[in-house]
């Protein structure tokens, strides 16, 4: 792809284990490509400048903000979004913990919270509460739900290694 173009480019990637493709302008943000072109609307576009973290997904296994990544940058990558968390109808342990500990109210930030928490526990499987608070500050919740969110992440860290499987 050495040729200049502001015309549509072909994007091929793996999303939640399935090969997906589409065409979009190079200026298209990855979050918009997911939502509009692939109709995966579970990833939320919040601030659109990389501050709120609602759009966080896994790119090649690492949490990243899809609103400050161009779709064309993710060409060929393996993505994981909120839609891929539940397996065979069973919620991911992190989702179960968020439900149990009231880690969400309106739910807008929740996709980014879950993905960020899962990636964080992969990097730091036995965190202190302070480390959890530090890591989860990457995502903003405006329902003031942090107590429940921190409790949920701590519960998964203490109780289960399955949460790191994604």
């Amino acid at each position: 792809m050495n040729e200049a173009t502001s015309e549509a480019v072909e994007i091929s990637l793996i999303v939640n284990g399935r090969p997906r493709s589409g065409r979009c302008e190079p200026r298209k943000l990855l979050v918009d490509f997911l939502r509009e072109d692939l109709v995966l609307t579970g990833t939320h576009a919040g601030c659109e400048h990389g501050i709120c973290g609602a759009c966080t997904i896994l790119i090649d296994g690492e949490a990243a903000r899809s609103c400050i990544t161009l779709a064309v940058q993710a060409n060929g990558a393996e993505l994981f979004t909120i839609e891929g968390l539940a397996q065979d109808g069973a919620l991911h342990p992190m989702q179960q913990a968020f439900a149990k500990f009231h880690g969400l109210q309106c739910g807008f930030c929740t996709p980014g919270m879950l993905i960020t928490a899962i990636d964080f526990l992969r990097v730091n499987p036995a965190p202190t509460e302070e480390e959890v608070r530090d890591a989860m500050s990457a995502v903003l919740c405006r329902c003031t739900g942090y107590q429940g969110i921190v409790a949920a992440v701590m519960a998964v860290a203490h109780g289960s290694t399955a949460a790191t499987a994604a």
Partner: protein, 291 residues
């Protein structure tokens, strides 16, 4: 909140990228991790004719130890630098600094070279490169040249890289054994840009200071070394009084700006407080043994 139109290039060599820079004559922007550039495009603070994506060029992401230095490819993701064993063992100050750079999800994408070339005056990496006496290697039409950190940062978002040069490697001398070091920073939320950040690196022996490096970010139009404070420490040692004097001197030698985040007076006050904290920690509590 969407980027304006641009042409997109993904060259497969540094030479091809340099040729593209020349062809666009200042109208193109290099894209590395995009963690600063894409937000600026979203806000339409920038409207480049073209983006030149460096991510498809092979061999620009690595961490190697060679001849008493650590060489880090410009496209190495900040997260990978943070978790590099070489960096943990040889450049623990850099590792500590990376913990302050954005959040884990932005470090997944952001690169070390991208942050240095972006030269945000509030960013931690330029300050850290200064404290570590690092340098960068720039590739241009005439070949490679090395630029010391002290000659790299010009002013806000501006370096002394030429318009047709690309930062390709970061080189940092291995920290001396038994160096004391510390990063101190204040931001409204950890991971946000620093209101003021300080990096300190001390080589000391029984209260004597053999070599001091103190650098700061958020205190002016570019990251700076606080050389008056450094000289005071090297002259007067690392007693509490000398540290307090160096901290006061640091606040006097900066030229901070007032912006919506903080006033110049507040930044000056913070600088004295944070330099004092960083030096106390580097002088006493954080002696590292490097084997």
């Amino acid at each position: 909140m969407k980027p304006p139109r641009f042409s997109y290039h993904a060259p497969d060599s540094v030479g091809a990228a340099i040729a593209l820079l020349a062809r666009y004559a200042g109208e193109a922007r290099l894209l590395s991790g995009g963690q600063s550039l894409v937000p600026m495009l979203n806000f339409r603070l920038l409207a480049p004719a073209a983006l030149i994506d460096l991510a498809r060029i092979p061999d620009l992401a690595y961490v190697r130890e060679e001849n008493g230095s650590v060489a880090i490819g410009a496209m190495t993701r900040q997260r990978h630098v943070e978790h590099s064993e070489i960096v943990a063992n040889r450049l623990p100050l850099l590792r500590e600094a990376l913990g302050w750079v954005g959040h884990l999800p932005t470090r997944s994408r952001g690169t070390i070279g991208g942050s240095l070339a972006h030269a945000d005056p509030s960013a931690e990496l330029p300050m850290t490169l200064l404290a570590l006496d690092g340098s960068v290697v720039a590739a241009g039409p005439g070949g490679l040249r090395t630029i010391a950190a002290t000659a790299l940062f010009d002013s806000m978002f501006t370096t002394h890289l030429a318009p047709d040069e690309i930062l390709v490697e970061v080189r940092i001398p291995v920290m001396a054994p038994h160096s004391g070091f510390a990063i101190e920073e204040y931001a409204r939320r950890k991971g946000d840009f620093a209101i003021v950040g300080v990096a300190a690196l001390l080589q000391h022996q029984g209260g004597r200071c053999l070599r001091a490096r103190v650098a700061a970010c958020g205190v002016g139009s570019a990251a700076v070394r606080l050389t008056a404070a450094e000289q005071m420490l090297e002259r007067n040692g690392l007693g509490l009084e000398a540290i307090n004097a160096a901290a006061a001197s640091a606040a006097a030698e900066i030229d901070p700006l007032t912006d919506p985040n903080a006033s110049a007076d507040y930044r000056r006050h913070l600088t004295a407080v944070l330099v004092g904290r960083a030096l106390r920690r580097a002088a006493g509590l954080s002696v590292v043994a490097i084997h």
